[in-house]
Structure formats: C-alpha cells, structure tokens
Amino acid sequence: MPASFDAREFLAGFLVEAAEHLVSANQNLLAVEAMLQKGQPHPRAVRDLYRSLHTIKGLASMVGIEPIVDISHAMEAVLRAADRGGGRLAPGMVDVLLKGTRAIEEAVGALEHGRPLAPAPATLLDALALLPAQAPQAAPSSEETFTLDPALRSKLGLADKEQITQGLLAGRHVWRADFVPSPQRAAEGITITTVREAVGRIAEIVKVIPIQRQSAPGIAFALLVVTDADVMAIAQAVHADAEQVVPVVQTAPPPGPEPLGAAEVERVGTIRVEVTRLDDALDKLSALVVTRYRLERATADLAARGADVRALAFVVQENGRQLRHLRAAITRARMISVADMLQRVPLLVRGLAQQTHKQVTLDLQVGRAELDKGVADRIFPAVVHLLRNAVDHALESAAERTAAGKPEAGVLRVSAHEHGTSQLELRVTDDGRGIDRDKVATRAGRPVPHSDEALLELICLPGLSTMDTTTTTSGRGMGMDIIRRITVDQLGGELSVKSVAGAGTTFTLRVPLTVTIIDAFLFMSGNQRFAVPVASVEEIVDLEGARIASWPRPGSSTGVQTRILDRGGTAVPLLALQSVFRLPPDGAGRRAILVRRNGELIAYEVDRMLGQQEVVVRPLEDPLVRRAGLSGATDIGDGKPTLVVDLIGLGGSLLEAEA
C-alpha cells in the first residue's frame, strides 16, 4: 500500500504553531522598532524573526499553503539580509514587515474558519522585495571584556557577547553552570529541557552549550546566564554543587557609549515567548494519532493478505475524523494566560495611535492569571472596543493636552490581575478628557447622572454615541450595551466605570476565569426556546413521513398516547417534550431529538430546530429551580435566559410524569 500523506490532518496543528510564531514575530518587530528609535540594533530579535519566518515557510510548504509560503519567503529574505547586517532594520521596514505578519494572520484565520484563501497580495510581495536593498550596514562590534573558557567563547555570537557585557556593566551576576544528564535524572523528569525552564525562571539564559566530557554519559550542558539570583539558586536549578558554578567577570573597564539598562533591552529570545502550555491532553492526543497510523498499517497488512477490510477501514477513517474533532475541542477548552490574551494590545494601540495621529503611551500590566480560552475569546473584543474608544474619543490631541497641562502623549493603562480566586479583573484607564455627563444625558434625553452607576446605565443604552463626527477608528465597533451583555449577562461578570471630567476614565471588567462552554442545538418546544448539548444528541430525526405507532396509555385519563418511533427497525419510545415539561401546546412537532440513556434510545418530539451555536452555560444554583433534566441557563443574545436541557438525565424522571 503506497504511503499516502494527507496534509489536512496536520492543518490544525500547523495553524496552532503558525499562530504562536506570529505572536512572537509581532512582539519581536515591536521590540526592534523600540530599539530603532534609540538608534540601536537588536540582533537577537532580528535573528529570532528570521528563524520564525523560516519555520513558518517550511511548515506551510509541507502542508501545501502557497500564499503563506510566498509571504514568509519574501519576509525571510529581508530578515536574512538584516541579520547579516548585524540586526539592523531601516525605519519603515518594520511597517512593511508588520503588514506581512498581518497578511499571514489573515490567511491563518481564513484556514481556521474554512474560508477560501486568497493568493499573496502582489503589492505586499513587491514592497517586501524592495526592502533588502535598504538594509544599513553593521556597526563595528564591541570589545570583549569578560573571562570565559575559550572553547565556550568561540560558540558565542555577537548578541550573546553583548548580552553578557551589558549584564556585567549593569552590575548583575553572570554564571556558567553545567548540567550533566543521566538515565536516572531522565527517569525522574530532570532533563535539559526542564533544567532550562527552571533556570529561565530565575535568570536570563544567554546560551546553552553542549560540551564533551570524559566520564559517562560523555556530555554536559554549559549554561551561561545573566541574573540577580545567587550562586546557590543557580546551582540548585542545574542540580549541581555551588562550587561547580563558575562566575564570569569583567576584565577591563568599559569603553564607548552609555550601557543600556537591562530593562530596556527586550528579551524575546525563545520562540514561544509566553510558554503556551498545551494541555497534557494534547500530548496524549499526539500519541493517539501515532497509534492510529499503526492501526492503518495493520489494516493494510490484512488487506495485503486478502482479508476484506472495508468495514475496518471505515472505522479507522471515522476514528481519524474524531481525533481531529477532539483536537479542536481540546484546543478550544484550554486555558490561556492573560499575557497571551493581551499580547496583541501593543500592536493594536500602535495602530490606533497612527490612525488618529495621536501620541499614546501604553502601560500594560498583566499578572500570571490563566483563563478559559472561551472567556478570553469573548472578552477580548470588548477590551479592544474600550481601547478604540479611549484613543479615539477620550484622549485629546497633543495641543489640547499641552494646554491642559498634561504630557503630550496620552497615557493608556491596561491591567489584568486575578480578583479573588475565581475572577479576572481587567482595567482600561486613560488620562483623557473623561466622559461628558451633560452631553451624554442630552443625547439620551435623560437626567444628568450623578453617580458612576447611573453614568454606566446611561452609556450602556443601545445606540448611544457621543461623537458628532464619524470616528476615525471605531466605525461599526460594538457599543457599550454589547460590552455589558457579554461581560455581565453572558459571562456572569461585572462592569463598572469611573470618570472624572478633564482627568480621565477607568473601565473595570470582572469576568470568571472559567466557564462552561458547549456546542448546543437550539430548538423550540411549547413556544419556548431551549438548548441541548450537541454532545448528548445521538441523532435528529424528521418526523414527517416517519413510522410512528401509537396507542392509548393505560390508566391515562386525558388520552395521552404512548408512541413508538420506528428508526431503521429499532423501536424507540417517542415522547413529546412539551408534555414532559407541561408546556402549552404548539404546532404539531416536526422533529425528534434522539438521545441514548443507559444504552437505550429515547426520542423527544420538539416543534422545530433553530440552529447550532456555542453557548456559555450558567448552572442553576437555587434549589427552587434545580430540576432533573435541566443543566443550566444561557444567554443566546436576547437578554432572557434560555434553558439548557439535559435530555439524558430527564429520561429517568419522566416515567413518573402523569398525564
């Protein structure tokens, strides 16, 4: 059997990795730009950018996505030239490269949502092709001023040496600490990878250099680090004795220009800037994928021996499809860090500032909280809208600000920290002109609000806008009413505002860190809308023309029928949901939802199906409304709770239901 390679199987994994590389690329581009403004190169960031685009190109070529190959190839050429030129990019190159990452992101987004893929834009490719000619020449390298074993020193690049020099000049420690691997250590989970992570938490790793050793296992890893931590901490992290950790020190006074403080040199060296932790589940999923290949191979062997493998092959194929769905579900359910969620904010604010011709300083403070990807996906657009509003409406022009005694650049502060144990508190603060209460009140035809709560009510009225002229950036952005709907109604969080005229405004959003999100079918029964988890539904059957046998139920006084649905030869009890729920009768039911309880099928007749969507499920906690058959309630966008039914759990109690 010829080896076949279905690139589509790997598409999902490719999209995840490409997205991670793009995140890091954007951050590196911003870091390069920041250094550019100081007239400095950023060799490490440029090197990492080159590598990221090179990797994206390779992966895209394997999975067969030409537009991404073309764009990344063009970007890679620019970055290779810049890397050779000592890590310098000319001003203006960053903008074009950001357009490049944007174009790749759009292609990734199209693939994720099954939309058709456009070829790489010719204008972008042309612009990228013109760039390498402009790359400026490298500045002469600085003198080496520290002690280090020559064998190791020869392995260091320019950026590495600069990092060590600058670390020493800033008064920090530079250590060389060796880690020796062994089978015992590997068995305990102590590997070079975990040691790197441990050291990375307390130090900046300049480089890890493999070295030969006489005694077993014949190798060791020399870690060169810059840190404020002491020798004991470093020794512990590499599982060595303190005496074996060697300091690296200065040998001569520093010549030349002022050293940069450690804080100003952005360290974005590792390819995944924020260790995007994929669940243990995704790792296990990879193992399942490998097992599936073995299964395919075994099936092929059987076929080669003349066995009829059609049924088996079908099952294996189905299994493959299920694994793909499983990967999607796990990816959707994973937690992401707040830092990951907000990593686009610097780029976004940069763009907003450019579009509005304002100067904006962004202060981003994120804690270490992690939240459900589902929550993050829903709340992030709200944050984006608040930022748009702040830059567009709240921040004044440079002239106005100077006249008001404020610094020219507007200050935008975005913070995200855990609040208690189960909530995330997001704050968007600006030091702009504040919300004009009188203006808003007049617009709304309401009395002037005095309290912050009243002000919030006012600005959350649908369709309210205080701008006289069309805004530069907002356009069709969402209104405050939708922000409240998402934060408060859908996610069960809190929204508040504080605004002082002339001084600024702060919006505070509190959202739960985790929520239950499921794929649900929506349907009507008894003139009421319900949701049922897709995962619990075996099948949805059209009752028109279906074979149904019915006879009066014994002992029933109101003539309620017992009905059986013939589904391909199986007799399935058919119950009208509206009578189970004692709902008012509606039109004759057209559809039946089939679920399996303890191996047995049950069919529930409903009025009609309305569609499918992802919903946030809020549990019903009050004893008054806790009932078998009800999983919770959700807000599907119309403000009123929609019940989420558990048709499987309902099956037990309904047999007691009387006519």
Partner: protein
Amino acid sequence: MSALYVAFRVSDAEYVLPAAQVTQMESFNGATPVPGVPPWVTGLIHVRGQVIPVVDVRLRFGLPHLTPLLESRVVVVQHGTRSVGLLVDTAREVLKLAPDAFVPAPELVVRTTRGFVKAVIQAQNRLLLLIDVERIIGWEDVHGNQRQERV
C-alpha cells in the same frame, strides 16, 4: 433606633422587609418559565450577571394570578447564598421604622397569610406587614425531590 425597610404592595395589602436584605429592585420584563417548578415560581431572569428565580408573591400568598403591569417590580432579596427575585404589584418606598415597634401578627393574619407574615407595625396610619423572606422563598419546601404545593 430605626432601620430602613423596603415597602411593597400585593393586592390591597402593604408589606415591608429589611432593606439590608434587598440587593436590587428591577422592573419586570418577563421570565423564562422552568418546567417542573411550583406554580408560584414564575421563572428565570438575568439580573446583574446572575440568573435567578422569580417568585410570584401573589401566587405564593394564595391570591389569584394577575398579569404583571408596568408598575410591577422584582425585589431581589439575598438570603444566605441565595439570590431570589420577588415579583410584587408595586414597590416604591423605603421607610424608616423602629424594629421594636413591630408586634407579633394577630392570629387571624398569620393563618390567612400562612406564615408568610411574621409581624405587623402601625406607621403613618398604615398597617404594614413584615414578611418572612425565608418562608416565602420556600426553603423548607424544597428539600430533596419536588413537593408541589397546590395553590
């Protein structure tokens, strides 16, 4: 020594409850019915990010059902960890009353209100009935499986 009380009307009687137990007062825009609950549980509503049940106080008191009007209000009360909305005819006033001016409700009142009223007070020429929130939101009725209370 006086405390604040929220006053509401149901039919032609006036009731009060400590303002400290009231977290919100909202107008009523309909509730999502919940199958299998007592008839005096109107359904679920969204209030400030929470999904809470609404108790129709009229039905709870054994009065005939009335289609909610514009003035109808949902008084959201907090009892322990529970948050429940009370649907009443109107709720407009907050009164300052002296807690020790309350006297136990007369026998007749207790019987006709089935224990939902625990005390009465005369204030400003009005007779105000102090409700037992815990009893109204039916805590003791809702142990384990359903026990439907026929109106």
